[in-house]
């Protein structure tokens, strides 16, 4: 029962107020993409032990989607940020680096 803060409305609530939406920063591949690209987009996920970027929706609240940077082992939440971005914000990545030196997640580090 995680506690998260919605960056859109500012409410801090517990997991029952939110809905998890899987891995963040997926790149959509549509018609014209190769089998490998489409498989990667539709099925392949990071499932890391450690730093993870996830999509969440404040479903029983403002209804907005947002992203969360979280540690799957320690359950630490490094921060939440807007879903309208292709990369995690630099200050958040710096904050994670301070706590977990040398981390990397897909193309981010």
């Amino acid at each position: 029962m995680l506690i998260l803060t919605c960056p859109c409305c500012g409410v801090t609530g517990e997991e029952t107020e939110f809905h998890a939406g899987g891995e963040a920063h997926l790149k959509r591949f549509g018609p014209g993409s190769s089998e490998d690209q489409f498989e990667e987009y539709l099925f392949m996920r990071e499932n890391p032990k450690g730093v993870h970027f996830e999509r969440w929706r404040h479903v029983n609240g403002c209804g907005k989607w947002f992203h969360a940077a979280r540690n799957t082992m320690t359950l630490e939440v490094y921060g939440t940020y807007s879903a309208q971005t292709h990369t995690p914000p630099q200050d958040l990545r710096d904050r994670i680096s301070e706590k977990v030196p040398g981390w990397s997640w897909r193309e981010f580090q």
Partner: protein, 1006 residues
């Protein structure tokens, strides 16, 4: 014999006698008794039978760790199996029955299993029941299922009520022993909001039984004063009879409060499940004494030394006249001393240790005249349904009997294990304490919260401190640390833990097997897990057979898998496993501790959510009218829709047939308000809908409607409905009844997370409108009777919509049809829904109007071959399977699902295709039936070539009609397939077009 003593009984109110029954026999106890102490007071040591061998089982413990004393409690709507006698407070009129025996507790046929135990070692299920294969289904499985489970399942609906509570605090202290009290006091003194919960009815834990002094006075005094001080503090909440069931992520704790178990006549809910959010948690959960592993240690009368002490001191009960104490530590001497002081006989203390000098407790025991034998142990316990004596031996030897001592109780102590369950639930790690031979919390590896910092602190014996002074100092530090972490640092010069004194104890010595060289005959009778019948020999066999991981060995032997979850057996078991594997215990590690700490009632988990308030029910504006006019309800999502309007003297089938014929012959009204209505608006709305739907929506003209399909990225069909273009920037999308919220979220997700620069708003307006379908050849006449806007074929063609007035109502009329009849769907403001319905019923009176329900709707659409989401689709169906190619745009470069539908499996020509199915004898096909083909599939099962997706009796065609998915179906028109039913009949059906009724579509075209 066990009996009530003339004196003693710290927790009893002897002025109030209570009557209860055990296996129908009336017995007496006192207020303050547990069922266990009352049974012992009535000489009822034998309380049940073990799971596998049906061995006689007696009370072993005095608390939550009890593995044997499980009973069926109560009757009728208050019946509950597997209730622990040690945690059941006695009340007047309690009824209990023992479990897992036939025909009686004293004489049990299943006990023959015990004679067969040589043939039922660890993993015997896996080995024995594998071959020959056919025997599994017909002999082994039925037998095992019958034998499985201890108590009986309740048959009646639960008479009690339950509720959920929510609570928030800075520091939650779990456990109300002396450590919990001290930790709570230290935390509360900082001003932090503190909650202290205790699973039993009493504060102080076992300290009052074990004795000692705090600040120069008896420990009872300290308990009373601290409770009084805490009760006087406004920032403290105290709850007894409330267990910390589990610790979860980010300081979430489930508390399980038993409100009326001890007073069943009291008003109010029986259990309360607390959902607590704590900034910091202190686990002051104490420790559990370990049994010793010697032959016959499961015979009734062999008990934990601490439990024997509890029964004497707390309940004034003598478990037996003569007690032999067997121990590897000083603590058990307290039991011998307590028994002696109560006037009972202790023929000997068998101490497995060899110590150079007598400790203080030893000297005290000797001074009371108790014979102390150092370096000795039990070779074997004598007796069957009750201990009659012990054969003693040297601990260092192989069990040669030196002497036999008559006794009726054996009080054993193998040392103490801190209760680390709650610490471990959310990831707290453990460290091996070689001095105490126990796992204790590793303070450097606590569970961490949202900020990455520890949020659990163990206190007192739960953290490994054993003696009173150490316990209080440790708990004081824990309380202050937790308060500080929660933002409430103690003031300078804050009070320290009071001084405490307690008899010093000599170090314990680990003993995992008694005697240490016990041969197989003894090990085969040395129990680890009493409830599941796991012995030392079973764990050794598992190790020998290669089960090296503690988790594997647990599952192979079932050690610790009973309802007590191995509270007594786990450490002893993994010590035996480690020994067999020749590795140190910390290397073997423990199995995972999972919540709840002890079983909690299903009722408490459900809370208030049962019956009418199980989930919210959604009602349309016309719901009450439907109810008054014979509606039988069908749940569709959270909505209730009329299945049919049943008239008096009619069956529901009759009603459905009548409604279906009438809609085709005259005039039907359907409450279509539940269909989802989503407004999509903005400069990019057309572009967006072209991505959402498989067909083109951007080209739809204002004033027109178009049927659309929605898929997910896999290409699978997820919803369908009619889309109307309202103006240049606005579309109205209809969804299925169950789909409105889902599709609205689906749209929001794509807009917010993928195409966030597109200028589109979506709004779910489903409940803002009531919608009524006016269906049948007389539909237009009905609207003309209402008067108002022109609904003629010339002005309003098929798939047109228009705003206007009808009968004085502001309406939006869609000329669309899900029935194949002339049909108008009329939307009004929700507040006008009932009035419009009444007006339509009035003008329809001369036209033969009848309301119709969902089953009629289904038959009408099936007669026309229209698909239904959830019948023809099931999450693995693409529109192409259903012959809906015409609704999939070939012009669009992209839409959700387009790429998915290009995958090789989706374009496979052998995908089953939608067809109509017509039974040869006009009967109705069974729903979900499969068409069988020649041969077998890869699993050796009968091959199939199709299945039924919708099936009804059509009153208009007077025959069974069905739709189904069939291999190469559209190319096999006229072929007859065979559908075996679960009724044993084989149904024959011919492949036909799915459009059964009015194939030319002439009826609505008027």
């Amino acid at each position: 014999m066990s009996t009530r003593l003339a004196t003693g009984g710290r927790l009893l109110n002897k002025s109030r006698a209570l009557t209860f029954t055990f296996n129908g026999k009336s017995m007496k106890g006192f207020e303050g008794d547990t069922l266990a102490s009352a049974l012992l007071a009535n000489d009822q040591m034998l309380v049940g039978r073990s799971f596998k061998y049906h061995r006689p089982r007696g009370i072993v413990a005095s608390g939550a760790e009890e593995p044997n004393g499980l009973v069926n409690l109560g009757q009728g709507g208050r019946f509950e199996p597997n209730q622990r006698v040690t945690t059941t407070e006695l009340f007047d009129g309690l009824t209990a029955k023992s479990q897992n025996h036939w025909p009686s507790l004293d004489f049990d046929v299943g006990a023959l299993n015990s004679k067969m135990s040589r043939f039922m070692p660890a993993g015997f299920y896996y080995k024995t029941f594998m071959y020959p294969r056919p025997l599994w289904k017909h002999v082994y499985e039925p037998f095992i299922r019958k034998a499985a489970g201890l108590g009986a399942a309740p048959k009646d609906r639960d008479d009690d009520t339950y509720e959920h509570f929510y609570a928030f605090c800075d520091v939650l202290v779990i456990g109300g022993g002396v450590a919990g009290l001290q930790a709570a006091k230290a935390a509360a003194d900082t001003g932090a909001r503190v909650m202290l919960i205790e699973q039993t009815a009493h504060w102080g834990g076992r300290a009052p039984v074990d004795g000692g002094e705090v600040a120069g006075k008896s420990v009872d005094n300290f308990v009373d004063e601290t409770v009084a001080a805490l009760e006087a503090m406004e920032n403290v909440t105290l709850r007894r009879r409330m267990m910390g069931a589990g610790v979860y992520d980010h300081g979430y704790v489930l508390g399980y409060e038993r409100l009326t178990d001890h007073a069943p006549d009291a008003v109010g809910p029986r259990h309360r499940l607390w959902r607590i959010r704590a900034a910091q948690i202190v686990t002051a959960t104490g420790a559990i004494e370990r049994p010793l592993s010697f032959a016959g240690n499961d015979i009734p009368g062999v008990m934990l030394a601490s439990a024997v002490r509890d029964y004497v001191t707390d309940f004034g009960v003598s478990p037996g006249d003569r007690t032999v104490v067997v121990t590897n530590n000083d603590n058990a001497y307290l039991t011998a001393i307590a028994l002696k002081n109560a006037g009972l006989d202790v023929p000997a203390i068998l101490d497995a240790r060899v110590l150079p000098t007598d400790s203080a407790l030893m000297a005290q025991a000797k001074s009371l005249g108790i014979r102390v034998l150092m370096g000795h142990g039990v070779s074997k316990v004598q007796g069957g349904k009750r201990v009659t004596g012990v054969a003693i031996c040297s601990q260092a030897g192989e069990g040669s009997v030196l002497e036999e001592i008559a006794c009726d109780v054996v009080a054993m102590s193998g040392g103490w294990s801190p209760v680390v369950h709650l610490w471990s639930h959310c990831g707290g790690k453990l460290v091996w304490d070689a001095g105490q031979a126990a796992f204790k919390p590793d303070v450097d590896k606590a569970p961490t919260g949202a900020d990455g910092k520890p949020f659990v602190t163990a206190a007192g014996t739960a953290s490994g401190a054993l003696l009173l002074g150490d316990v209080l100092a440790d708990a004081d530090a824990a309380g202050k640390a937790a308060a500080t972490a929660a933002g409430h640092a103690p003031a300078k010069g804050a009070a320290q833990a009071p001084d405490a004194s307690h008899a010093p104890e000599a170090p314990m010595a680990p003993v995992w097997l008694m005697p240490q060289g016990a041969g197989i005959a003894l090990r085969n009778k040395a129990w680890l897990d009493y409830q599941n019948d796991v012995k030392v020999s079973d764990v050794q066999l598992a190790a020998q057979e290669g089960f090296q991981s503690v988790e594997h060995a647990k599952r192979y032997t079932t050690l610790g898998m009973a309802t007590d979850q191995g509270k007594l057996s786990n450490i002893n078991g993994l010590a035996i496993l480690s020994d067999s594997l020749n590795q140190p215990i910390p290397q073997t590690g423990t199995t995972t501790f999972r919540p709840p700490y002890t079983p909690i009632s299903m009722g408490s988990i459900g809370g208030e959510a049962r019956g009418d308030v199980f989930q919210p029910v959604r009602r349309t504006p016309m719901h009450a009218w439907h109810a008054e006019n014979g509606a039988e309800w069908e749940p569709v999502g959270q909505w209730r829709r009329p299945y049919a309007y049943v008239r008096s003297g009619e069956s529901s089938h009759d009603a459905v047939m009548r409604e279906t014929k009438n809609a085709r012959d005259n005039l039907g009204l359907l409450d279509a308000s539940t269909l989802g209505k989503i407004i999509v608006r903005g400069p990019d709305a057309g572009k967006f809908l072209d991505m959402m739907y498989t067909n083109m929506m951007s080209t739809l003209k204002p004033g027109k409607c178009r049927y659309g399909l929605m898929c997910d990225e896999n290409g699978f069909l997820i919803d369908d409905g009619v889309v109307a273009r309202i103006d240049d920037d606005t579309w109205l999308c209809h969804t299925t009844t169950g789909g409105a919220e889902r599709i609205h979220s689906h749209m929001e997700e794509w807009l917010q997370t993928e195409w966030w620069t597109w200028q589109v708003y979506v709004a779910n307006v489903t409940e803002q409108y009531a919608q009524i379908a006016v269906v049948g050849p007389k539909a237009r006449k009905a609207l003309e009777h209402l008067g108002g806007m022109d609904v003629s074929a010339e002005t309003m063609g098929f798939m047109d919509w228009a705003d206007g007035t009808l009968g004085g109502f502001d309406v939006r009329v869609f000329r669309i049809s899900f029935s194949g009849e002339l049909s108008y769907e009329i939307a009004v403001k929700a507040s006008q829904g009932q009035a419009l319905w009444d007006a339509l019923m009035a003008v329809g009176a001369d036209l033969g109007v009848m309301p119709y329900g969902t089953e009629c709707l289904h038959i009408l659409r099936a007669e026309k071959g229209f698909i239904m989401i959830g019948d023809e689709s099931d999450g693995t169906i693409i529109p192409q399977d259903l012959g809906l190619h015409w609704a999939i745009s070939k012009k669009k470069e992209d839409f959700i699902g387009k790429r998915g539908q290009e995958r090789s499996h989706m374009v496979d020509p052998t995908r089953w295709q939608l067809v109509g199915l017509e039974t040869v004898d006009k009967s109705t096909l069974p729903d979900g039936a499969y068409a069988v083909a020649e041969g077998t599939n890869a699993n050796g099962q009968r091959a199939t070539e199709g299945r039924v997706t919708s099936t009804y009796h059509s009153p208009n065609l007077d025959r069974g009609i069905a739709m189904g998915l069939v291999l190469n179906g559209p190319d096999r028109m006229g072929e007859v397939l065979t559908f075996p039913g679960t009724d044993g009949k084989a149904y024959k059906a011919k492949i036909v077009s799915p459009v059964f009724y009015d194939p030319e579509g002439e009826k609505p075209n008027v």
